[in-house]
């Protein structure tokens, strides 16, 4: 009787240790998967940020043209003014599909070749698209230097593009 009990206890102990080891394995694998999924998500998120910036940089609604041909890394100031209204009005039915949760701002740094004083920078900021996620886990801002063309005078100024994407 005692021997059988001992044997039973031994078997239970072996099974218990076995399942403990399996549990450890599962926990380890779960943690590893979690980390690798997070890494993948980070990577996809960074790619989305880059992709969104790229899309903005080549948007026909904003880009400068010279005799119909595009000028790279240049935004047309006259178009910017008009585009922000159009984009705002059609965010839900079109532009959300393009940019998802993001905020796109063009900051003008010079005007007629002169640096804009810091106090006036906010007045020369153009919010092109604003659809931030209210409860977000991550946000990634990207910046890009631009030339800003006044198509009437033909003058070029400097500015930068800020694209912030939310996840």
């Amino acid at each position: 009787m005692k021997k059988a009990q001992m044997k039973m206890m031994e078997t239970i102990a072996i099974i218990f240790i076995f399942f403990v080891l399996v549990l450890f394995g599962i926990i380890f694998f779960y943690q590893y998967s979690k980390v690798s999924i997070n890494e993948r998500n980070e990577q996809f998120f960074a790619e989305r940020a880059m992709r969104t910036t790229l899309k903005v940089l080549f948007m026909p609604e904003l880009i400068c043209t010279d005799h119909g041909r595009i000028e790279q890394n240049c935004f047309d100031l006259q178009k910017i003014g008009a585009a922000k209204e159009v984009i705002e009005r059609n965010t839900e039915d079109y532009y959300f599909n393009l940019f998802s949760y993001a905020e796109i701002t063009v900051h003008q740094l010079t005007k007629d070749g002169m640096m804009i004083p810091p106090a006036e920078l906010d007045a020369n900021k153009h919010l092109i698209y604003s659809n931030p996620k209210l409860v977000f886990t991550k946000k990634e801002p990207t910046y890009f230097i631009l030339t800003l063309k006044d198509d009437i005078t033909g003058h070029y100024d400097f500015g930068y593009l800020n694209v912030t994407v939310y996840s």
Binding site: V22, R40, F44, D76, G81, E85, V86, Y94, D151, G154
Partner: protein, 369 residues
């Protein structure tokens, strides 16, 4: 004693078998789950990577890129577009990317070690979007020579020094048609740049996945056929809306690569939707009847600068056809691609292009675009 021993041994074996089965079942379950998860992950990864590649390829206008598919060479990539929603992904997996913005023209299925991506800008009359053409190294296009300027344009556009970027194509005469072979190609398309009676095209060719496209009405209509049993079956057709004076007629070239008229029209509808918004940026009509957008700003500037030539030119020359274009494109998106509004778009765009050119050359005003 012997009986007790027997019971103990039997019990131990049953116990071992049950425990073993449970353990085996447990691990089998984990393996099945992991397999499903890793397949799902593969599909998601591939589609996400493709999305990034397509976005990059699309914005670099007039360029070709190639993508080596590596381990996915034996998988089938599918592309579709219906009711304004494009979709692509790996066939046989649940995950695909839907896209309502970017126009992607491609065969319905691609199974290849090398994808070729070609971005072409579309103007009507200003730049609207970049078309993305997706094809593969084993999708062959046979162009039946007609000596037209479009043939020359195609010949120049498709060839590349780097073989990986070169579209798999060949210009042949009609008489050479009967000699074409499947080779290593997954699919073959015959492209007739001039109108032809479909029954004149041989059907005896021993080629799988053989399709044909025929341009007609002086190149402004394309009809899609597939080879059926001993005859060519009509799939559908589509009108081509583009300006004539372009080096690379994106709308016409894209039509060659689209699987069928439905896919072509679906993608073109995406483009026209964007055009509608773009026109508003250039010059929208405000509720009070005042011109807005860039045109509004230009007009206001020239009014203040007391420059009568520009004022009238902007107003009469550009505004009216721009509003007409907006009206037509809205109707085109709302009604259908085959409506008269769509067919009139290119004429109105040509009027705007002429007026825009005049602004600079005749009256020295700033161009609209």
């Amino acid at each position: 004693m012997e009986r007790k021993g027997q019971i103990e041994v039997t019990f131990n074996w049953i116990y071992i078998v049950i425990a073993g089965a449970v353990i085996l079942l447990f691990f089998t379950g984990i393996i099945i789950k992991q397999k499903a998860a890793s397949e799902e992950r593969l599909a998601v990864d591939v589609v996400n990577i493709l999305e990034s590649i397509f976005s990059g390829a699309e914005v670099s206008e007039n360029t070709k890129n190639f993508v080596e598919t590596g381990a996915l060479a034996d998988e089938i990539l599918y592309f579709s577009c219906q009711d304004g929603i494009g979709e692509y992904g790996l066939q046989g997996y649940d995950y695909g990317v839907q896209n309502t913005v970017d126009p992607i023209f491609s065969p319905a299925e691609i199974k290849s070690p090398l994808l070729i991506l070609w971005s072409l800008p579309y103007y009507l009359p200003f730049k609207v979007m970049d078309f993305l053409i997706v094809t593969s190294s084993n999708t062959k296009y046979y162009f039946i020579k007609d000596g037209s300027p479009f043939e020359e344009q195609l010949d120049l556009a498709m060839g590349e020094q780097d073989q990986r970027l070169s579209i798999n194509h060949e210009f042949i005469s009609f008489s050479e048609l009967s000699q074409i072979k499947q080779g290593n190609n997954f699919q073959v398309r015959l492209v007739f740049l001039n109108e032809i009676d479909i029954d004149d095209i041989p059907t005896f060719l021993e080629i799988d996945r053989l399709t044909a496209v025929v341009f007609s009405n002086a190149g402004i209509k394309i009809t899609y056929y597939k080879r059926g049993e001993n005859r060519w079956e009509l799939i559908d057709s589509a009108d081509i809306i583009s300006l004539d004076d372009q080096d690379r007629d994106a709308a016409k070239i894209a039509a060659i690569f689209a699987e069928n008229g439905e896919m072509y029209k679906c993608n073109m509808e995406k483009v026209f939707k964007r055009l509608s918004y773009l026109i508003q940026v250039y010059g929208k009509e405000n509720a009070d009847g005042v011109i807005g957008g860039k045109l509004g700003e230009l007009k206001q500037y020239y009014e203040e600068a007391i420059y009568p030539n520009c004022q009238s030119s902007y107003y009469e020359g550009i505004t009216v056809p721009l509003y007409t274009l907006k009206h037509q494109v809205d109707n085109c998106v709302f009604e259908s691609y085959n409506s008269d509004s769509c067919k009139s778009l290119d004429n109105t765009a040509a009027d705007i292009a002429i007026e825009n050119e005049k602004l600079d050359t005749a009256v020295s005003c700033t161009r609209l675009y």
